[in-house]
Symmetry: C2
Subunit: 272 residues, 2 copies
């Protein structure tokens, strides 16, 4: 990805232009290897060599996304932002993060719509209807379901009183074990992907404060699957089984963009 | 990345050809936006639109790596391999993984060469010479040190009796705290990167069984930084402070390629 800020035709109006090289299309590879084109030898050592090729226009492709006219807000959104790690103690959570969550009116009506069958009913892959220990499994909106390489599903729990990992105790083990076990079974049954090829995890911080679990294809480098944001559900279960208060004692690390409101709260509290 | 197996000129000899689209070069972007080229409108909605562009050969580039002639081993190496997650209990570690580690003669002479100042002495960024609680910090070979975006350093501990995360107990806390604290300080001093922008972690399984810690730029999506392989050093320290035997009790998840010898050991043991 690269981001460019340009003024179009001297009007003084900004546009955001995002350019991306698209992936190779497998069926075009034979053409690419057959076509005569400029090839510059870079390195030759024993059986190895590297070239730089300049493919003809019909075999290379760039996707351009244009936002025009773009406001300052659009430009800020696409500008690279510094990201910092926060190491949040339980005290930080109580004094900084929790008041922040309460002060925000994050709307999670879309979650309730799914749980109440008011939306996306035809997309439900699996449901356990138990009000305390049940959940709904749906494909994530980022996944178009056309290929298994980037498989991405979300389990939304029916209970509405669990904001995040921080609220979990041993009381929630039956719920978490249901999500792990039934989620795996439903995905192998519907999509044929075995559980050993699934990455099953929670985010901290989550992007919305209603407990949910991510299921992604192991071969897919899903955004948010890095160690600084993701917590394997199997590890969460083992930690809670060992110590019910594990997530009310432990410091947790997470990344924040410097322009996020929660980042400013940690800054104001002198925790950065 | 894509991989192609082709027979060249009917000789019946295989070659491995790896094609990669190279990243955009920032200085060529203005040319790219000025040049008249075929642009196909894909979507238009309000202020957003997307196009597909076909850039001229001089503005697009493919890197081709050729291995020729390629043996079956080369081809296997580059063929896509299935990856599976293993959930290794402590019993699995004792019965399967540990005997496997002992049966292998992984050479880590290169590590000892660094620790004994027989190699890479000019590359050392920081050293704490204490034989029990000291370590050496060096740039990883994957990092060319030309830009900070993909900053990557490795701390190699002086002690030679710690194979991996599995061996760690509270006894090692002074060592681990030195690595965390002095590693951060050395990196901000030498490279100006603050510790809040560093991802500091161990791999399990590691690629060699001499305890080492990875320091990578937070903005760099470093290979092996996913939740299924990486363990934040700060978490490891807190877990050990809470329970000295944490890593001798807990199940640990890690990925294995289906062609790795350790994978076959888990298969033979009926653990897959």
């Amino acid at each position: 990805f690269i981001f460019q800020r340009i003024g179009l035709s001297g009007e003084g109006t900004d546009a955001v232009v995002i350019l991306e090289k698209t992936p190779f299309q497998e069926e075009k590879i034979p053409d690419l290897l057959k076509k005569p084109m400029n090839a510059e030898l870079q390195m030759h050592n024993d059986i190895y060599c590297t070239f730089y090729l300049s493919p003809p226009p019909e075999l290379s492709e760039i996707k351009a996304t244009v936002v025009y006219p773009a406001t300052e807000k659009h430009i800020q959104k696409y500008l690279r932002q510094e990201v910092h790690l926060i190491r949040e103690t339980w005290e930080d959570y109580k004094n900084i993060t929790l008041p922040f969550i309460h002060s925000q009116s994050f709307s999670i009506q879309w979650v309730y719509n799914i749980l109440e069958k008011k939306a996306e009913t035809d997309r439900i892959v699996h449901e356990n209807p138990d009000p305390s220990n049940g959940f709904v499994l749906v494909p994530d909106l980022k996944w178009n379901q056309n290929q298994l390489e980037d498989l991405y599903l979300i389990a939304l729990v029916h209970r509405r009183d669990i904001k995040s990992l921080r609220d979990l105790t041993a009381e929630h083990l039956p719920l978490l074990r249901n999500v792990l076990q039934e989620g795996k079974e439903a995905i192998v049954k519907r999509f044929g992907v075995p559980s050993s090829q699934l990455r099953i995890y929670l985010h901290y911080q989550p992007s919305y404060y209603h407990l949910h679990v991510h299921f992604t294809a192991l071969g897919y480098d899903a955004p948010g699957s890095s160690v600084e944001r993701a917590h394997l559900l199997a590890d969460v279960i083992d930690n809670l089984a060992m110590d019910s208060m594990y997530y009310q004692k432990r410091a947790l690390t997470f990344p924040l963009r410097a322009d996020e409101p929660l980042f400013k709260k940690f800054q104001e509290a002198g925790r950065l």
